[in-house]
Symmetry: C2
Subunit: 360 residues, 2 copies
DNA sequence: TTGAAAGCGCTAACAT
DNA sequence: ATGTTAGCGCTTTCAA
């Protein structure tokens, strides 16, 4: 009875309550919480004090209704067990938080992202980040039409027809090329490739860069398998290469002497299989290389040679793109002009460790 | 000019627009999008058709203003580089999505969670999940007062005074106890502990369970260091145990013959240091055990003995608790009674692998 | 600088 | 079953 706060358990306190306590109008309260608004310092103080006393915080949803901006970024993600993506998510979320924006998370394992995207749209997210997944073109269109910026991270649009989305990524072809050159320089003769998801643009570009470079050097892919960015699947592929149907080891001269896996995740699992199941020495008998440079790759138990994606710079580019897009959206005639879709490519770096035989 | 949709680029289409096109009232539109509402099937169809034609989706913020529910759960997270948490996040997010709820992510690395929590409250999240972090008691109070359910995941309140929060966790003391018993049974004489964050309840409970059990068995902790749940820090601790100031190896008889690290993350890094920097064999010369059972722990390169936290069941419990809390919030006189804070403890499991010397 | 008033897009009585 | 009406909590003209 003696405490005002106890009354407000059920209904949350509103700007009217604050106005009443502070003895000002409700608009004065609103202005006191709006950075550049015209309020006398004295009123602002009165208001802020009353607000604190009541535990008042502006209702962002009400604000959204008027301003049209939510300060929410929808992030679509999968493969959270590949450390590359958690690290990405953490960086992105932190950076956005410092800009006063929040991440709303959407997990898209497998297909069926469609009603997922509807949810995003219902929340009127200010922008959408698509990582580790593609977008059915119809829904992509819906976003563009709704004027919501979409930025792809490490993906390009599945539809070669509409490259109207912005994207941030490393040069995957170049990375794969450097891996290929490194393996060739190491004197490897039978070079194998373990693919990720065949329909993922990451895999397509890595595979393409790898094959092309081998071809340029007069070599072909000696063995090929699809690992689907999954550790167990990749291991099964490798087993099928080194063991015959009876489970007996094949002659090594008939097996790959180097394996490039489309991501570190698979490469690490492959090293395990090679060394502990098949009893092979890495890199003495088989070299292994990956892609991404996840933290585990540098653990001394692996020392995986890989191509590093510079997460920090990539996220920074992404955030800048995002903010620019969002800002531009508020300008009058913006949506009709710059709809080309800008593809930012951040350079990566070959990291040579001990899992590959070194060039002499 | 020929297409209605092209007009709606800037201002998003509202239920009024749909109503007009469908030739019904605006409330009819609202009802058509409300699951149990009373609409004639014919009208509903007309409305849905018009809605599709215009690309209409209900604005959830407007709805929120009335219903008081956002269907947003705020999740506070840190240590996303420890795979335990990404896996947790993925599971939680997926489960919530199936219930039509979304995760809003808040990264809390280090302190300063306070304005972070203000953001959550401004978004009027339906509930808050605190994982990998604690909560300043003042803000915790603010949540309770605002009637927002708070559930701790793998944490208990820092303030022993107010255990008013709900929590879901494994029995950390029991886990540590089983690790201790396993190490003792393995015949180890000099058992060391590498702590996580000293102020984290996970560490306190693990350390406590470990020490107590050793004491019961007439043993003490042979060596102790603080790894702060950080790989590099943990490695430094271990180095200091096995090398003297000059960087020369100490006699093994003066060094630990078993190390229990407060989480897998550190345990794996320690194995690397032990084997590759210090040239020791695991477990022949030193046994290593961890806690969590992250995926890497089962990689054959490590084969880490650890205590598994059953993520699936834990998340399921968490979601149930969450939904129950949210539902209860809408009931009239609920907030004054069941404010005890229920602590759900999910049993874990000792996973014995090859990083520890086996009991004879 | 301040207050009154209109309205953002929706749901929920209340009539009909 | 449907339409009308009154807000939800806020920002933003518009006057004063």
């Amino acid at each position: 009875m003696h405490n005002t706060a106890t009354h407000n358990l059920r209904k949350s306190v509103t700007s009217h309550d604050v106005a009443e306590l502070a003895g000002v109008s409700q608009s004065a309260v609103s202005r006191s919480f709006t950075p550049g608004a015209s309020v006398a310092e004295a009123t602002r103080l009165k208001v802020l004090q009353a607000a604190k006393r009541l535990g008042y915080l502006p209702n962002l949803h009400a604000r959204t209704l008027i301003t049209g901006r939510t300060r929410i970024v929808g992030v679509v993600l999968a493969h959270l067990d590949n450390l590359f993506y958690p690290r990405f998510l953490q960086l992105l979320s932190e950076q956005l938080q410092t800009q006063g924006m929040q991440v709303m998370l959407f997990i898209a394992e497998g297909p069926g992202n469609d009603d997922l995207l509807e949810h995003m749209l219902q929340y009127r997210v200010d922008a959408i980040v698509l990582a580790a997944t593609s977008l059915s073109s119809s829904l992509g269109k819906a976003c563009l039409q709704a004027g919501i910026p979409v930025v792809m991270f490490n993906r390009v649009s599945a539809q070669s027809s509409d490259r109207s989305f912005h994207s941030v990524r490393t040069d995957q072809e170049e990375g794969a090329r450097q891996i290929a050159l490194h393996l060739i320089a190491g004197g490897h003769e039978r070079i194998a490739y373990v693919a990720g998801h065949l329909d993922a643009s990451t895999n397509q570009e890595r595979e393409n860069g790898f094959r092309t470079t081998l071809a340029e050097q007069g070599k072909a892919v000696f063995a090929y398998g699809v690992g689907k960015y999954d550790a167990a699947t990749a291991q099964a592929v490798v087993r099928s290469w080194y063991l015959d149907r009876a489970g007996q080891p094949r002659p090594l001269s008939l097996c790959p002497d180097a394996i490039f896996a489309a991501d570190d995740q698979m490469a690490l699992a492959i090293m395990d299989t090679l060394r502990d199941e098949l009893g092979l020495r890495v890199p003495a008998q088989v070299s292994v290389a990956g892609f991404d440079d996840v933290p585990q790759a540098s653990a001394s138990a692996y020392g995986l040679t890989t191509y590093a994606q510079p997460l920090g710079p990539m996220v920074q580019e992404l955030v800048e793109l995002l903010m620019a897009q969002i800002a531009q959206r508020n300008e009058p005639m913006a949506s009709n002009k710059k709809n080309k879709g800008h593809a930012t490519v951040v350079p990566g770096q070959l990291i040579v460790r001990t899992s590959t035989r070194q060039p002499i």
